[in-house]
């Protein structure tokens, strides 16, 4: 039995200890905003927040998050920074296919929570773990910058 705190709600889930958080979110809880891309922490589409920091849920056994706060794309808009980033994403028309954008947004929000005035270098450092096959990087940079300079 895993006691999880997801998006502010407590859940008792009877899932195997070693099941990655990603699949608990997607296939057990139906929170499909967090995506699967590689399963080896190389693409970042599965990024969620663990106690406010960006982590890759595909390589995170659910037992490792017991008692810690998990936030997913479905709830990140409840935070001021999350809302600002989502708006910036639309204002800058970042999205193409959109599949990686949940992960991109989660990484961007974690960055801006830690460094509200993130500079170009910090943006690149924080975002380079997130792949986008549509290669929307030009607009991701612009969107994050618009928030960090606001």
């Amino acid at each position: 039995m895993q006691k999880l705190m997801i998006n502010g709600q407590e859940h008792d889930l009877d899932v195997a200890d070693d099941m990655p958080l990603l699949w608990v979110l997607r296939d057990v809880m139906g929170l499909t905003g967090t995506k699967y891309g590689c399963g080896i922490a190389q693409c970042g589409v599965c990024t969620v927040h663990l106690d406010g920091q960006a982590v890759r849920s595909c390589v995170l056994p659910v037992s490792a998050v017991a008692g810690r706060k998990v936030t997913t794309i479905e709830a990140v808009g409840e935070q001021a920074v999350g809302q600002a980033v989502q708006k910036a994403w639309l204002d800058h028309e970042v999205v193409q296919c959109g599949y990686c954008q949940s992960g991109q947004i989660m990484s961007a929000v974690a960055l801006l929570q830690e460094h509200p005035k993130a500079n170009d270098e910090q943006i690149v450092n924080a975002m380079s773990g997130n792949l986008c096959r549509c290669a929307t990087y030009t607009r991701i940079r612009a969107a994050i910058k618009s928030v960090s300079q606001a």
Binding site: D14, V28, I40, A41, V59, P61, N125, G129
Partner: protein
């Protein structure tokens, strides 16, 4: 959550309660010892049938192939008598009277009692026979003259059983037996002399093993494992890592995967107790402090690559925020001035099948250049270690070309 999700959750839940790992029946003594001796580590090829052998050992003087030790009468050991099997493990002499090369650790197995050895035989003979002939050994002259091993054995192999030390606790004695006998730890962790024999005066002081470094595991607090709490050692041996102390990669990762994780926690604790009583050897790579070096953070290829592909698990502070298994700070690996295990892990990855997802790491050999892997290795050494280490592109090229197996 909709009805369907709830139903899914229930199904997953119901099935999860029958945990499949614990389904395994209690292990027989023979199987336990076979695990402890890690026979399968050498007697299998990747993707092959366990114990059917065929693994190539590239040694300085040629290639050896591990034999088939399944009970197949033609290609395996199905025709072996008890005495023949005991002689193989205690004296390094095969059924045909030929001497083994000490790639086969009979120099350690000789410590095992006849009873324990026969328990192993019993287990091996309970397995399904596999018909598979290993390739011929390719050893260059004079090393292909096996009779020469007689002299080597006379000097370096003791052919003596383990004798408990009555002044020590039962736990200590159990640990000593496991380390010196079936566990054959010294085969990798004790430096070898010019005759390829374990150096007795320098036991467990650490040694190079192909692209890998088997660290000093003597009781020395700085260079060995003397400062590791017992439970850190147990965690390392059973899970493959001990946050802030060490992570088992390469051949040691295999040892955990195939052998150590199957041992009773009490036996692992006994190993810890024994290792911490061994003579301290002050050589090799000292443990680094947990401090990270911010001056290493400057624009550069190494940091770029670390941010691209490593930081998601290891984190820029080396804390492995993702999970303790991803922690880099405090590991000897980041303090090796030559960065051997950093390089080897990048080239070979870390993908034991039993490891949890947070312990797995893909290899980066195929799509990253020598210069890139050297740069990221150097960044890791400078950022998390204090040895001012450096890995050069030539080092990566050399290690890329050679591999232990």
């Amino acid at each position: 959550m909709n009805v369907f999700n709830t139903a899914l959750g229930l199904v997953a839940g119901l099935l999860a309660s029958t945990v499949y790992a614990s389904d395994t029946p209690a292990m027989s003594k023979g199987e336990y010892l076979t695990r402890a001796a890690d026979c399968v580590a050498c007697h299998v090829v990747p993707g092959g049938k366990p114990y059917a052998g065929g693994l190539e050992f590239k040694l300085p003087f040629g290639s050896l192939y591990s034999p088939n030790i399944t009970p197949d009468k033609e290609t395996g050991i199905g025709n072996w008598t008890d005495d023949e099997f005991v002689d193989a493990l205690q004296k390094g002499v095969g059924k045909d009277g030929k001497h083994y090369y000490p790639a086969f650790p009979y120099t350690s197995y000789t410590q095992m009692s006849r009873e324990d050895i026969l328990a192993i035989k019993g287990y091996l003979f309970s397995l399904e026979p596999v018909k598979q002939m290993p390739p011929e050994n390719k050893i260059s002259f004079p090393f292909n003259q096996r009779w020469g091993m007689m002299f080597w054995n006379a000097i370096f192999a003791s052919n003596e059983r383990f004798v408990p030390d009555s002044k020590q606790s039962a736990e200590w004695n159990r640990g000593a037996y496991l380390v010196q006998g079936p566990g054959h730890c010294g085969e990798c962790h004790t430096p070898r002399n010019i005759f390829q024999a374990m150096s007795t005066g320098n036991s467990l002081a650490g040694a190079e093993l192909g692209n890998w470094m088997a660290y000093n595991i003597s009781s020395d607090a700085k260079y060995g494992i003397g400062a590791w709490p017992d439970d850190a050692i147990v965690s390392y041996l059973s899970k493959g890592y001990a946050a802030g102390f060490g992570g088992a990669g390469g051949p040691m990762g295999d040892a955990v995967e195939h052998s150590l994780r199957y041992l009773d926690p009490a036996d692992l604790k006994a190993i810890a107790v024994y290792l911490k009583s061994t003579p301290a050897r002050s050589e090799g790579i000292p443990r680094p402090s947990m401090a990270v070096n911010d001056s290493a953070l400057q624009k550069g290829l190494g940091q770029k690559l670390f941010n691209d592909t490593c930081v998601a698990c290891h984190q820029i502070d080396g804390s492995g925020r993702q999970s303790p298994a991803g922690g880099l700070a405090g590991l000897k690996t980041v303090n090796d001035p030559k960065g051997r295990n950093v390089m080897a892990t990048l080239l070979e990855g870390h993908t034991p099948t039993a490891a949890q997802v947070d312990q797995r790491m893909p290899d980066f050999a195929r799509s990253y250049s020598d210069a890139e892997l050297a740069a990221v290795s150097t960044f890791v050494l400078r950022r998390f270690g204090q040895s001012d280490g450096e890995v050069k592109a030539e080092d990566v090229a050399k290690n890329r070309a050679s591999a232990l197996h």
